[in-house]
């Protein structure tokens, strides 16, 4: 059983849902990334997603794109990111990387998984790797007991959703909207029903991400999901850490996360 499987077994046992914040590694620097991951975990996050900056992230909206650009301007390298994550092994929450296939491929799939595992990372979300192209990486992940989290979107036909579910380990990442990352005021009205359908097809945990930013969203989605992923709303707050008062930013991120976690717990 992988670290992520254990987490969801435990959460499900306690009738709880996962809060999963996303932060960009190295935005504005790795020291801050360490600090913010500690804050987010202390506030009660179940798992943290760490974005590996990439030069051409086509699934990302302006907020996350800009965070990648800020990190890459400082010439951040994968090796330094993994070294930093390796120093966070005492965190109670598992870490997963959001990483482009371009990066995994360049390092070599075996090397990527080995290095991430070595750093204590529990799995990977590879947003530009489709199920048809995923066999090679999936086999390596399987061998290493490293979760390969695959995505389902509103445009994914139902038969295909089942196929993706069969090939996924850890949890299914259910993308809430047809579009790129970024906060939304409204989520699609069919979302809850659609996740509900997938829920009946698989025992895998289903976590919903993209667009989620308010306690209202959290209350709406918590009943059908095992966890909720919040990215841009957090990265937007972190954006001020480059120029402003870091402690104030950490406080604002923690308070924001705590508010969403409270909304998540209040219903479960």
């Amino acid at each position: 059983m992988s670290e992520i499987d254990e987490l969801f077994t435990e959460l499900r046992g306690g009738g709880k849902k996962a809060f999963m914040p996303f932060v960009t590694a190295g935005d504005p620097d790795l020291e801050f990334t360490t600090a913010v991951l500690r804050e987010l975990t202390a506030a009660g996050s179940s798992m943290c997603e760490v974005g590996i900056p990439y030069s051409d992230p086509i699934a990302d909206g302006p907020v996350i794109q800009a965070s990648y650009t800020r990190a890459l301007e400082k010439k951040i390298r994968l090796a330094e990111i993994l070294k930093t994550l390796g120093e966070l092994k005492d965190l109670s929450a598992p870490l997963v990387t959001m990483v482009s296939y371009a990066i995994c491929h360049r390092h070599g799939l075996e090397n990527y998984v080995a290095a991430a595992k070595q750093a204590g990372v529990a799995g990977a979300i590879v947003p530009d790797l489709l199920v048809e192209e995923a066999d090679e990486l999936a086999a390596i992940c399987q061998r290493e007991d490293f979760s390969l989290i695959q995505l389902v979107t509103p445009t994914t036909p139902r038969e295909r959703q089942k196929r993706i579910a069969e090939k996924t380990t850890g949890f299914i990442y259910y993308v809430s909207v047809t579009g790129i990352t970024g906060e939304r005021t409204e989520l699609p009205p069919q979302l809850v029903d659609n996740v509900g359908w997938l829920r009946e097809q698989t025992d895998l945990p289903i976590c919903i991400g993209f667009g989620i930013s308010t306690p209202g969203h959290v209350k709406l989605l918590a009943p059908v999901a095992d966890g909720l992923i919040v990215g841009s709303a957090i990265v937007r707050r972190i954006c001020e850490a480059g120029s402003g008062d870091r402690d104030a930013v950490l406080r604002s991120v923690r308070d924001y996360a705590a508010g969403l976690i409270a909304a998540l717990d209040s219903r479960s």
């Binding site: 086509i58 699934a59 530009d128 489709l130 048809e132 979107t153």
Partner: protein, 407 residues
């Protein structure tokens, strides 16, 4: 030439890609799940259109009566004389409506857009030729059109920006990254991520996820088919050598594809050599790069050792791109096409030579092919024939060339 490709034992065939969009190892589909359905639909619809006589008739009618095809094959005698070697013949894609080969693809894809019942079109553009050709096809069919273009390219290809607007398209400036073609593709893909239900993305080269490399190659192959037939008619034989510039690689793929199985015909693809061979100074992934993933396909790319796409440079906006179509990677690794580079300064000399010796202003992109063809022809006998794809005309570049010379 030191940078020519190494030859492998496997021979290139025309019957590619496979159902997964693979040209040998290259190609495939590396995109967010959100786009899969639209790409699958596009592949299915294209397969139907390909064998639909009515679709083909409609496209051929447009190519003949709207674009002005077949484009002439022209013997550039005074240019040949200057080189003192082989005869240089030009496939005149510059004489197409809108001034470049790009229209061959945009009309085909606009027809596919209508077939799929989509009501809006987006595109990226570098030199602006694909943007103009897309705006033109959309005006012709009454489709709304948004073109993404990097700010740097908006500056250096201003005439095409005016044309797109006059044709009714909206030009959206892209301000991220290097503000060139690569960033324009990123933003077009992001638009498509949200708009995919009712929008078709008319991608402008043989790049991107399957099935784009195949579709664009097929629509552009009219260039090579005509050139092959014209050669047979006018010369009584096939050319000895065919030369084309390679940005994403669509004019080259269209020119080369019908010759792939003619083993006696040497094919030469010319990348943008920029200022030097140092990474960042050129846009020559086949010459200096390595296989990797960019914009949805596996192909040669300029990437650093961490997998980040490198900044690239070319004087020509249409070649200023760190990636290349997967079929070119396949042709490189099988040794079927020899890829080489041509520097900015040489391309400018090619431009001048064609202007002064033949009265033709070539696009800066095409000038790379002209310059390389002159070099190649110089070393060949007078009865040999070098056929060059003159992919576009240079009016768009006149002001930028003047600026570069004054500066």
């Amino acid at each position: 030439m030191a940078c020519m490709s190494e030859t492998s034992t496997q021979k290139a065939v025309a019957n590619v890609p496979d159902a997964a969009g693979r040209f040998g190892d290259f190609g495939g589909r590396y995109v967010p799940e959100t786009l899969t359905r639209a790409l699958d639909e596009l592949a299915v619809e294209y397969d139907k259109a390909k064998v639909d006589a009515q679709f083909q008739a409609e496209l051929n009618d447009l190519l003949a009566n709207y674009v002005g095809r077949p484009s002439p094959l022209y013997h550039a005698k005074r240019l040949s004389q200057q080189c003192g070697g082989a005869q240089i013949w030009l496939k005149r894609e510059d004489l197409n409506h809108t001034g470049a080969h790009k229209i061959n693809n945009t009309l085909g894809q606009a027809l596919l857009t209508l077939r799929m019942g989509k009501r809006r079109v987006i595109a990226e553009t570098g030199a602006g030729q694909h943007g103009v050709a897309t705006a033109t096809a959309c005006a012709h069919f009454g489709l709304p059109c948004v073109v993404y273009m990097g700010e740097e390219d908006i500056r250096r290809q201003a005439p095409n920006v005016f044309s797109m607007k006059l044709l009714g398209a909206e030009v959206r400036p892209v301000t991220t990254g290097s503000r060139t073609l690569r960033d324009a593709i990123n933003d077009a893909m992001r638009d498509w991520m949200s708009s995919v239900a009712d929008t078709h993305y008319i991608l402008g080269s043989v790049v991107g996820p399957h099935p784009f490399p195949r579709i664009v190659r097929d629509f552009q192959s009219v260039i090579g088919r005509e050139a092959r037939e014209q050669s047979q008619q006018r010369l009584g034989r096939l050319p000895d050598c065919v030369v084309a510039c390679v940005g994403g690689g669509s004019n080259a793929a269209g020119m080369f594809y019908p010759f792939v199985e003619d083993e006696g015909v040497k094919l030469i693809g010319v990348e943008a050599g920029g200022r030097s061979s140092t990474a960042g100074d050129h846009a020559s992934p086949l010459t200096y790069g390595s296989p990797g993933v960019l914009h949805g396909s596996f192909s040669y790319v300029m990437q650093d050792e961490d997998g980040q796409t490198c900044d690239v440079h070319s004087v020509s906006a249409g070649l200023d791109y760190p990636g290349v179509g997967p079929e070119h990677s396949y042709w490189k690794d099988t040794g079927r096409v020899a890829y080489t580079e041509c520097r900015d300064a040489e391309a400018m000399q090619g431009f001048d030579a064609l202007a002064k010796r033949e009265g033709i202003l070539p696009a800066l992109e095409s000038s790379h092919a002209i310059a390389k063809a002159m070099e190649v022809a110089a070393g060949m006998s007078p009865d040999a024939v070098v056929l060059v794809c003159l992919s576009g005309r240079g009016d768009k570049d006149a002001a930028e060339i003047a600026r570069l010379r004054d500066g």
